[in-house]
Amino acid sequence: MRRFDRAAEYLARSAARSTSRRGFIGRLGALVTATGAATLLPVSRVRAEKAAVPIQVQEEGDPNSCDYWRYCAVDGFLCSCCGGSASSCPPGTEPSPITWLGTCRNPADGRNYVISYNDCCGKAACGRCNCSRDEGASPVYQPTTANDLDWCLGTQVGVAYHCSLSVVTGPAD
């Protein structure tokens, strides 16, 4: 289940500012392209992994912030704020084996990467760090790039949605 909270943003800001498009237009350079990376869906091979895996050394930005580059097409609670990280599910949840994909531009190297937005599943919503950036997201009848869908399909723990990962699956170019 994807959280839709531009509304909250609007509530917080004055209605008068609602025509500002800076935040959205600025991200258009990273227009999502769904690539053949559907075969690259990253599923945990190492469930024995314990600590949250941090972002990679050559990255920039704060993964607890909605502005972090990998989140260009995310829509949900950030697992980074829920006891996990951008690529690690919080304890007691299970990553979805299938998901939707986006493409985001890494400002540190100028490259585009295919990002896999696996859900972490089996617990009620985390409720922290709600982040909605729908760049390139499609309607639900085009599921591979649809972020309105609960992607907790095929898990052992059921479809309850807890939070969303943003996992680097490889360069997009």
Binding site: R6, A7, E135, D148, A160
Partner: protein, 407 residues
């Protein structure tokens, strides 16, 4: 009820509770002012009662769906009176609540729901429950395959046929299929594969259109037993760069308007059982390219006037869920905009009542408020506040022919 009351008291006295009740009667001799000489009669002893609503839903009542994102297993629908601005009651939903379906006679609400044996975990059970409008009590229930799509609410994922005979439930596992429920027999007819295509937009008592991943439309039909057969498919009608939203608008029994993220409109008629593309036009005119439809329920159609109401905002690609800051009104017949109405509160949902003298409703996700407006100029008639957490879609009921004991 009276007999039960004494039964409970007997139970209380039989258990340890009686001890406390006795203790209570003698305690608390707190000092208290002597009451002044009574000027008015003593208040009467009251009975506890339970409110009942009407037999059939009036056109100016509204169902307000709350998906409750942070507590997704407690979705619900509120019923409000648009004329009086009053809250009337609540119908419980379940995990990933979508909305209700009104029976054609306006007497019942069908509520698809998903439940788990242990809150958000354990065995999953999907059901359709019938709630009589009159008492809002859960009535009959049909257990369906636990596969219904879990997503942001889409009303075309749970349609009822126009005659109220069958419910169609769109499943996504990610295999795609449709469960058909016989609403008369209260039983599952079956599950039918719909590979590559999603949702069911009803186009007649037994026919519908689905939206497919390649941008085409697929027709489908139910036979008299409810069995689905898929029919003709169109060419892809939309580019992937600007897809039609999954929230099209029905403008007649067999015709729907599919509207893209950028505001291109395509009319499609399924009267023949083959989806037939009709007129194509745009919501925006010259110099208005910055404007787009947006929200969770971006458009609504008023059949008696032929007017389409659209929530519009300024934004680029990827802003298809952004709240509208203006309502643009179009004549579907002439494909012309007839009004452009700024609204004081950005809104993510818009709905209009289905009668000849309609009320226009808007809501902003997260606000808990429905704004009741005059359709002519979108001016605010009243607000209904305190409607939960996350209003997703609004549902105006069908106009029901006056019949039965209306109250």
């Amino acid at each position: 009820m009276r007999s039960r009351r004494f039964k409970m008291l007997a139970k209380m006295l039989a258990g340890g509770f009686g001890v406390m009740a006795l203790a209570t009667t003698t305690a608390c001799a707190a000092p208290r002012k002597a009451p002044p000489a009574p000027k008015v009669p003593v208040l009467a002893v009251e009975d506890v009662t339970t409110v009942e609503l009407k037999d059939r839903i009036p056109p100016h009542w509204l169902v307000v769906n709350d998906v409750v994102f942070t507590h997704l297993l407690d979705g619900r629908a509120y019923i409000v009176d648009g004329d009086k601005g009053e809250y009337l009651g609540m119908v419980p939903g379940g995990h990933s609540h979508v909305g209700v379906q009104f029976t054609p006679d306006g007497s019942h609400l069908l509520m698809p729901g998903t439940f788990f044996a242990r809150g958000s975990r354990g065995e999953r059970t999907d059901v359709i429950t019938w709630f009589a409008l009159k008492d809002l009590m859960p009535g009959e229930e049909v257990v369906i395959p636990p596969k219904r799509i879990q997503s942001l609410p889409l009303l075309s994922s749970i349609p009822l046929t126009d005659d109220g005979r069958f419910v169609l439930i769109y499943n996504f596992t990610p295999e795609q299929s449709m469960t058909v429920v016989d609403a008369e027999a209260k039983s599952v007819v079956g599950e039918f594969e719909t590979p590559g295509c999603a949702l069911a937009h009803m186009t007649g008592p037994r026919s519908f259109m689905m939206q497919c991943a390649d941008g085409s439309l697929q027709s489908g039909a139910l036979d008299e037993s409810g069995k689905i057969t898929l029919g003709a498919t169109t060419q892809p009608l939309f580019e992937r760069e600007d897809p039609a939203s999954d929230k099209p608008v029905r403008i007649s029994a067999s015709r729907w308007l599919f509207i893209t993220f950028a505001g291109a409109v395509a009319e499609v008629d399924n009267a023949s059982g083959t989806p037939t593309p009709g007129a194509r036009w745009k919501l925006t005119g010259p110099g208005e390219d910055a404007w787009r439809p947006g929200g969770l329920q971006p458009y609504t159609f008023h059949a008696p006037s032929g007017l389409l109401y659209v929530l519009m905002h300024q934004g680029g690609p990827g802003t298809h869920k952004h709240p509208g800051t203006e309502i643009w009104v179009f004549s579907v017949a002439s494909k012309q905009r007839v009004a452009r109405l700024p609204i004081e509160t950005p809104s993510t949902a818009i709905e209009i009542s289905k009668d000849a003298d309609p009320l226009l409703y808007t809501a902003l996700f997260g606000s808990g408020t429905v704004v009741v407006r005059k359709p002519a100029d979108a001016s605010v008639l009243r607000k209904i506040e305190g409607l939960g957490n996350d209003i997703s879609v609004l549902q105006a009921p069908p106009v029901v022919p006056a019949a039965g004991p209306a109250k």
